[in-house]
Amino acid sequence: MRCNEVHELIVAGSLTALAQEHLDACPQCQSFARDEESLRAGFELLAKNEVPEPSGGFAARVLRGLDEAPARMFEPLEIIGRRAVLAAGALAMTVMMALALSSSGPLREGRQGAFSLTRGESAETVEILLAGGVDENEEINLMPVSVNGGDSR
């Protein structure tokens, strides 16, 4: 029997006759067994440390603490509510922007072209990007191009 196998049995606390035979003749395993015994004794000593007793009125303090509980219980609902308000606000802003840009906003028909690429240009841009043809350090100008001589007012 090998030492490792005997160690397993020592930790498990279930030595077989064969393991005991090995243990009797093996100083390393005897040292291991003594350490296991010491560890076991250490646990027993630590277990003797007395558990602290609840101080007087502990249950009453717990009940007083429950007063905060209802507020906390609704915390998830509050978070959901807050998110819903933010989402609604963002949606409203998007709708307003869309309406402003489409017909009566400051950017009218002629200027819309400054932002948009034709289908061919768009495909070309995608191809360049996919091919890695743009240097990471190169600035890409995404500012709107003035249609009428650079004066956007």
Binding site: D35, L39, L45, L46, A47, A59, A60, A69
Partner: protein, 200 residues
């Protein structure tokens, strides 16, 4: 913990009342189970100063969740489960916020400090104190998972079956975890002693 039929009936009534929001009934449950929760928290964290605060938090969690208690386990086991989970959170946060490791039931100890050896034999108080200190350090250094199973079994005196119920694991799984944890701690114990406790 054994319950008589009358005790069970009384507890069930308190549980039902607590589930309807009756705080006095919940208070009675706190009174009945506070020592159990204190014991689990103290044994698992080893932090005497925090036991009361942590226990209070456990009962607050239990109150918020009491409607979900479905009697698949005893109320005490259910509470112990909440307590153990709370200990995991506490131990993880403590580990992440501290560079030093606390000894299991005492003052903070530097992990790098050399371990003291103890005399190989003799049940003298000095040896006992050193041994207790070393095992306390071992538990403090162990992973949370190892610490929980070992503390519940070796310090709190729970059976493997009880631990399995609390941790919602199979009995065999708990046995394996316990064996591995004990083995790791023994290896650590021998390292602390420079290869073998009795070689020093």
């Amino acid at each position: 913990m054994e319950y008589s039929a009358g005790r069970d009936a009384q507890e069930l009534e308190w549980i039902r009342d607590a589930q309807r929001g009756n705080r006095d009934a919940f208070g009675a449950l706190v009174e009945r189970h506070q020592r159990r929760v204190f014991a689990v928290i103290f044994r698992v964290t080893g932090d005497r100063d925090q036991v009361e605060d942590l226990s209070q938090e456990v009962f607050l969690k239990a109150y918020r969740a009491v409607r979900s208690y479905n009697q698949s386990a005893s109320f005490g086991t259910w509470l112990s489960r909440i307590a153990v989970n709370h200990c995991y959170d506490y131990l993880r946060s403590r580990r992440s916020t501290r560079n030093r490791v606390e000894s299991f039931d005492g003052s903070p100890e530097d992990l790098e400090s050399p371990a003291k050896s103890f005399p190989a034999s003799g049940p003298d108080p000095e040896r006992a104190a050193l041994l207790r200190d070393m095992v306390s350090k071992l538990l403090a250094r162990a992973s949370e998972e190892d610490r929980v199973v070992v503390a519940l079994k070796e310090l709190n005196g729970m059976s493997v079956e009880e631990i399995a119920e609390i941790l919602e694991l199979k009995v065999g799984t708990v046995k394996v975890r316990l064996h591995r944890a004990r083995k790791r701690m023994l290896e650590d114990f021998r390292k602390m002693q420079g290869g073998g406790a009795h070689a020093v």
